[in-house]
C-alpha cells in the first residue's frame, strides 16, 4: 500500500527534524536558551508554535471523529471554546506572565502566592503532562498499527508484525528525545512551526478533494441530517441536539471554564508565549495563533463530516476493517470490532461506529501514493510535536519548580542546563512507561481525561483572582484549588451520563442526577469545580493576612503599569488583533449556525 515515495517523504521529514536540532545545538549555551529559547522568538513563530503545541494528532483525529459523530457543532470547541480564551490570555494575562519574568506557570504562582501553591500546581502539572505524552505515544503507535504503515518493511525484513507497536513507540520517543536534547525549546518550537505547515499541506488537499466529491458545503447540507450542518440548531435544550448539552452548559462549561482553564494556565502553551522576544510579541502570540485556529475547523472537522456523508464504502482494503467487512459502517466510518472480529454492540443492540478512523480512512480513500506519504507524515508529525510540547514543559517544571525549588537551590546555571537534559531523558522514559500502562488498562485514557478535568477546571478561577484581585492570598489560592478539585470529583461521583454504567463514567459515590450526555456531565463538572474554587478562594483570602502590596507589583492588574503600545503598527497591537479575530469568529458562528 505504501510505496518508496511515501517512505522517502517520511524519512526526509525525520532527517529534517533531527537536523534542525543538530543545527540549533550550538546556540544553546544557558538554561534560558534551553528552557525558554533565550526569550528570542519572533511573534509569528511563537504564535504558530503556541497553536501547534496544542495541536496533537489526538486533536486532529479527535476532531475528525467528533465531526463524524456530531457534525459542525464540533466547531464550538474552537469558536466558543478556544478563541475567546486565547484572546483573553493574550490581551489580559500575558503582561503578568511575561512581565513577572517567571520562567514557568508554577513560578508565577510562587511569585504571586506562595511556595505551597506553586508546589501543588508543579507536581500535578508534571504528572499530567507526562501522562499526556505517554497517551500521545500510545495513540500514535496504535494508529501506525491499524493503518498498516510499517507492515510491508517488517515483512520484507522478516520481523514479526507484533513488534510494530513497540518499534513505533520507541522510534518516535527517540526522535523527540534527539531533537529536544540537542536544541531544547527552540528545537521544539521550530519543529512545531514545521508541523503546522505540514498539517495544512496534508489536509487542505484532502478537504478540497472531499468537498469536490460530495458537492461542496451545499452538497453536505443536502446529504446529511440538518443537525450535522448547523452548529446552533437545537441548542436551547439538551434534548434537541446531538451534543446533549444546552447553550448555557456549553458556553459556561466549555466556553469559559474548560477552555480558559486550558489556554490561560497550561504551561505547555504559555511556555511558547514566554519564549517571545518582547512583551508585545508575547501578548500577540496567542492572538496570532487565534487566526489559523479559527479556520482549523474547516481543515480537521470537515473530513469527519465528509467521511460520514459518503455512501457506505467497501472498506475491506482500508484501515482496521478486515474482519468487519461484513457489517457495513457509515460512509468511511467502520464499526467497532472486538478482538475476535465481532462487531461491538451497545445495550440496545446497535453497532457502535469507530469514529476515530474517520480521518485516517479519508486519507487512505482520497490520496494516491505520493501525497499519501505527505498526509501520513503530517499525522505522525502532529503526534510527535504533541509529545515534544509535553516534554519541554515537563523538563522546565521539573528543573525550575521541583528540582531548583526543593532539592538543589544554589547550583550553577550549567548544572541546571544539565539537569534539564537529564529531565528530558527520564521524562521520555516515564512517558513510555505511561504508554505501556495504557496498553494494559484500557480505561486509563478515560480516567486520565477525568483527572485532567478535575485538576484543570478550578485552575482558571485561581489565576483570575490572582491576577485581578490583589486581596487574594496564598492560603486562599491553595485551599481554593484543592476544594475545586474535590468538588469536581464529588460531582462526577454523584452523576452519570445517560446510558452510563457507574464506574469510570461517574456515579461511583451515589447517583443523584443523570445528564443527557457525557459532554453535559463534563461541562457541568467543570462549572461546579470552578465556582467552588472561586468562592472558597475569596472566602479564605478574606480570612487570611493579605500580601504586602509592594510584593505584588507587576503581578496584579491594579498594581501594574499598562503595557504601552507606542510605535506599533496596527497589526502589532493586541487590542486590534483581538477585535478582528473575535469579530471574524462571531461571523463564522453566524455562517454555520
Amino acid at each position: 500500500m505504501l510505496r518508496t515515495i511515501d517512505w522517502t517523504i517520511m524519512i526526509v521529514y525525520f532527517v529534517f527534524v533531527l537536523g534542525i536540532g543538530a543545527v540549533l545545538k550550538r546556540y544553546v549555551k544557558t538554561s534560558t536558551d534551553f528552557f525558554l529559547a533565550g526569550r528570542s522568538i519572533p511573534a509569528w513563530v511563537a504564535g504558530l508554535a503556541f497553536l501547534s503545541a496544542n495541536l496533537g494528532a489526538q486533536e486532529v483525529i479527535g476532531m475528525g471523529a467528533s465531526g463524524a459523530k456530531y457534525g459542525i457543532a464540533t466547531s464550538h470547541f474552537y469558536w466558543i471554546g478556544a478563541i475567546p480564551a486565547m484572546v483573553f490570555v493574550g490581551v489580559f494575562m500575558m503582561p503578568f506572565y511575561y512581565g513577572s519574568r517567571a520562567r514557568s506557570v508554577p513560578e508565577y504562582l510562587r511569585l504571586r502566592f506562595d511556595e505551597k501553591t506553586r508546589g501543588l500546581n508543579a507536581v500535578s502539572f508534571a504528572i499530567m503532562t507526562l501522562f499526556s505524552s505517554g497517551i500521545s505515544m500510545y495513540a500514535m503507535a496504535k494508529l501506525i498499527q491499524i493503518l498498516h504503515i510499517f507492515d510491508a518493511p517488517f515483512a520484507w525484513l522478516g520481523l514479526p508484525q507484533a513488534w510494530i507497536f513497540h518499534f513505533s513507540l520507541v522510534l518516535s520517543a527517540l526522535v523527540v528525545l534527539g531533537y529536544i536534547l540537542l536544541g531544547g525549546l527552540t528545537s521544539a518550537i521550530y519543529n512545531e512551526v514545521v508541523q503546522f505547515f505540514l498539517i495544512v499541506a496534508g489536509f487542505l488537499p484532502l478537504v478540497y478533494l472531499g468537498l469536490k466529491n460530495v458537492g461542496g458545503w451545499t452538497g453536505l447540507q443536502a446529504t446529511l441530517n440538518p443537525a450535522y450542518t448547523h452548529s446552533w440548531l437545537g441548542m436551547g435544550s439538551a434534548h434537541t441536539n446531538r451534543l446533549g448539552v444546552e447553550w448555557f452548559g456549553l458556553t459556561m462549561g466549555l466556553g469559559f471554564v474548560l477552555s480558559f482553564g486550558y489556554w490561560c494556565t497550561d504551561f505547555l502553551v504559555i511556555q511558547r508565549a514566554m519564549a517571545a522576544n518582547s512583551m508585545n510579541a508575547a501578548r500577540c502570540t496567542p492572538l496570532i495563533a487565534a487566526f489559523p485556529k479559527m479556520l482549523f475547523p474547516l481543515l480537521v472537522i470537515l473530513p469527519g463530516l465528509i467521511a460520514i456523508a459518503l455512501p457506505a464504502q467497501n472498506l475491506a482494503n482500508l484501515a482496521g476493517t478486515h474482519a468487519a467487512a461484513t457489517v457495513p459502517g457509515e460512509g468511511l466510518v467502520p464499526v467497532k470490532i472486538d478482538a475476535s472480529g465481532q462487531a461491538i454492540r451497545n445495550q440496545d443492540g446497535a453497532v457502535q461506529l469507530d469514529y476515530d478512523l474517520a480521518t485516517p480512512n479519508m486519507l487512505l480513500h482520497y490520496f494516491p501514493t505520493g501525497i499519501l506519504g505527505l498526509g501520513l507524515t503530517a499525522l505522525l508529525a502532529s503526534f510527535m510535536s504533541g509529545m515534544a510540547g509535553n516534554v519541554t514543559a515537563f523538563n522546565s517544571v521539573w528543573t525550575y519548580d521541583i528540582y531548583q525549588s526543593y532539592i538543589n537551590k544554589t547550583a550553577s546555571d550549567a548544572h541546571y542546563l544539565w539537569m534539564g537534559r537529564m529531565a528530558t531523558i527520564f521524562g521520555i522514559a516515564l512517558s513510555i512507561a505511561a504508554a505501556y500502562m495504557a496498553t494494559r488498562f484500557n480505561n486509563i485514557m478515560d480516567m486520565l481525561q477525568l483527572v485532567f478535568a478535575f485538576v484543570n477546571a478550578p485552575l482558571f478561577a485561581t489565576f483570575l483572582l490572582g491576577m485581578f484581585w490583589k486581596r487574594t492570598t496564598g492560603h486562599g489560592a491553595f485551599t481554593g484549588l484543592l476544594s475545586g478539585t474535590v468538588a469536581a470529583a464529588l460531582h462526577q461521583g454523584l452523576t452519570l451520563p445517560q446510558g452510563g454504567i457507574p464506574g469510570v463514567k461517574g456515579g461511583w459515590l451515589a447517583l443523584m442526577h443523570v445528564y443527557p450526555s457525557e459532554m453535559a456531565q463534563n461541562f457541568w463538572t467543570a462549572i461546579y469545580a470552578w465556582t467552588t474554587c472561586f468562592l472558597i478562594t475569596i472566602i479564605v483570602s478574606l480570612l487570611t493576612r493579605p500580601h504586602e502590596e509592594k510584593e505584588l507589583v507587576g503581578l496584579v492588574y491594579s498594581l501594574t503599569e499598562r503595557p504601552t503600545q507606542h510605535g506599533l503598527r496596527w497589526y502589532q497591537r493586541p487590542a486590534v488583533l483581538a477585535i478582528v479575530v473575535l469579530a471574524a469568529t462571531a461571523l463564522l458562528n453566524i455562517i454555520f449556525r
Binding site: 526526509v12 540549533l24 529559547a37 505520493g370
Partner: protein
Amino acid sequence: MGLDIRLPIGFLFSIFGLLLIAYGALSDPAIYQRSLGININLEWGIVMLVFGAIMLALGRRGTKL
C-alpha cells in the same frame, strides 16, 4: 535565534514539492482515480515548491538585514 526558521521550512517544502512533482510526472495516471482524476501529486507538488521557494526567499532576505 541564529537560524531563521523560514530557511528549514523553505528547504523542506521545496524538497517535498520536487519529490511530488517528479512522482506526479512519472506515475501511472490510473492511480489518480481515487483523487477524482486530478493528478494531485503534480499539482500540490507545484504549490508546495512555490511555498518553499517563497519561504527561502523571505528567510534569506531576513538574514541579510
